[in-house]
């Protein structure tokens, strides 16, 4: 029998105290999703494997799997080579039509109005002002044809163009020693990435798809494109970018997809 020690007994300072409180709160808020995940993850097959082992309940199995997933994040961060480039392809290999993918159907695609659009930048950055699309288009642009690999297994090749994300982060004076960059999107999607991937030379804040302004179905006004990460890590319809040391999670990640999600 193991007695669980309270892990957050001594908060050393105010910041830590708030962080811990938020973590606790997050845990409680997360519960309904976690229960749903639990039911889904073990309703079929899983228990038959553990039958006869009454000590192991579903929740502890789920927690153990989550811990392995966190461990896998660390292994992936260690394996990630900031200078290794994903393969690029000739334009003749572009998948047409490039598949639409989101957590909702194609009939629910959000239309963001260009005139009123402002990109918010916050957190550990020197320059917290908002950006218009015209300002982003005025920055040096680059394009690349890369393979998008979905967590479901399928892949498709597409051409995305826009601003080097590393350039953008330097331009806003981001603290590049921070751990995470988080994204909030117009379609209520959210996700976050590690700083080394944010600074990878192929990580683009894309404004175009196939040399045309990004159409709504591919995430107008902007999508973060990382050929070093799985599809769900590439947010579309980005409205806000923030740099932080507090783990921001993500829409799918909070339900059980691996957070690092690298390829």
């Amino acid at each position: 029998m193991m007695i669980k020690k309270p892990s957050q007994q001594f908060a050393t300072n105010g910041e830590e105290l708030i962080k811990n409180a938020l973590k606790d709160l997050g845990h409680h808020i997360e519960q309904p999703t976690r229960r749903a995940f639990l039911q889904r993850s073990l309703s079929l097959g899983g228990l038959s494997l553990l039958s006869g082992c009454a000590v192991v309940d579903e929740e502890s199995v789920e927690n153990a799997l989550m811990k392995v997933s966190r461990f896998n994040d660390k292994v992936q961060a260690w394996l990630f080579d900031p200078n290794r480039l994903a393969p690029t392809y000739p334009e003749s290999m572009i998948t047409r039509p490039f598949p639409f993918n989101a957590y909702y159907g194609e009939d629910e695609i959000r239309e963001v109005a260009e005139e009123s659009y402002r990109l918010e930048v916050s957190g550990m950055v020197a320059d917290k002002r908002t950006w218009t699309l015209a300002e982003l288009r005025a920055m040096p642009q680059m394009a690349q044809v890369t393979r998008h690999i979905c967590v479901e297994g399928w892949s498709a090749i597409g051409k995305w163009g826009g601003v080097s994300f590393a350039d953008f982060l330097r331009r806003v004076g981001a603290d590049t020693s921070a751990k995470y960059v988080g994204f909030k999107c117009a379609d209520d999607y959210y996700t976050s990435i590690d700083m080394p991937t944010a600074l990878h030379p192929q990580t683009l804040l894309t404004l175009t798809y196939d040399d045309q302004p990004l159409p709504p179905r591919y995430g107008f006004p902007m999508k973060l494109r990382m050929p070093t990460k799985l599809g769900y890590k590439n947010p579309k319809y980005i409205q806000a970018i923030f740099v932080t040391n507090t783990y921001p999670g993500g829409y799918w990640e909070d339900q059980g997809y691996n957070w690092f999600g690298g390829s």
Binding site: F37, R40, G45, L49, L65, C150, G153, G256, S263
Partner: protein, 198 residues
């Protein structure tokens, strides 16, 4: 030949065998669920045969069992090489002896009197499943980290080809396991030997 203690399978063989069996069952069943998320062969695997409940759960099982398979595989391979069991048990293997033993097997004349000795069909089957497992692990590494392992990716024909290789290597392993189980059912003493060692 059995060693001095009358042991057919030393303890490390039995432990790594059963740990491997567990890892392979978890990997195969969760892998089927992952396949179902984007089935590229025109059929899906019935949900009740799969593990994980949904894609995210299946991936968690798959990438947890991956470590079990890897750690256990390393222990098993190292022990096989250090003890030279790999060479004693599975070599030599000639096409002629394989052919002769296949014919004998179909005539029902292949003897299992000495469980410590593998006939040519067994040697071929075990060598096949060892090589197949290597292909499974390498193609799996490409699917997991296609950008980080460029040499491996190109050797396996790129990401999409590696997906197929991974699937068919799984099919090979599952076929082996099916035949393996039938053989164990035909010669139940082999199951006792893998549990008790003799």
């Amino acid at each position: 030949m059995a060693n001095g203690n009358g042991l057919i399978h030393p303890l490390w063989v039995r432990v790594t065998h059963w740990v491997n069996a567990l890892a392979v069952i978890v990997l195969a069943m969760s892998g089927w669920r992952i396949y179902d998320a984007s089935p590229f062969l025109g059929f899906t695997i019935p949900g009740h045969l799969t593990l994980g409940g949904w894609l995210g759960g299946a991936i968690q099982w798959h990438f947890a069992a991956m470590w079990l398979l890897m750690a256990n595989g390393m222990v098993c391979l190292t022990s096989n090489i250090v003890s030279q069991r790999l060479f004693h048990k599975f070599c030599p293997l000639s096409l002629r002896s394989l052919f002769a033993d296949v014919v004998a097997a179909f005539k029902g004349k292949l003897s299992h009197a000495d469980l410590s000795h593998y006939n040519a069909v067994q040697r071929a089957a075990y060598l096949f499943v060892m090589l197949d497992s290597v292909v499974l692990v390498l193609s799996g590494l490409v699917l997991w980290k296609s950008v980080q392992f460029p040499l491996l990716r190109e050797l396996l024909g790129g990401y999409e080809t590696a997906r197929r290789v991974h699937f068919f290597a799984m099919a090979g392993l599952v076929t082996f396991a099916g035949i393996h189980l039938v053989m164990v059912a035909l010669v139940p003493r082999t199951l006792l030997a893998m549990l008790r060692g003799r």
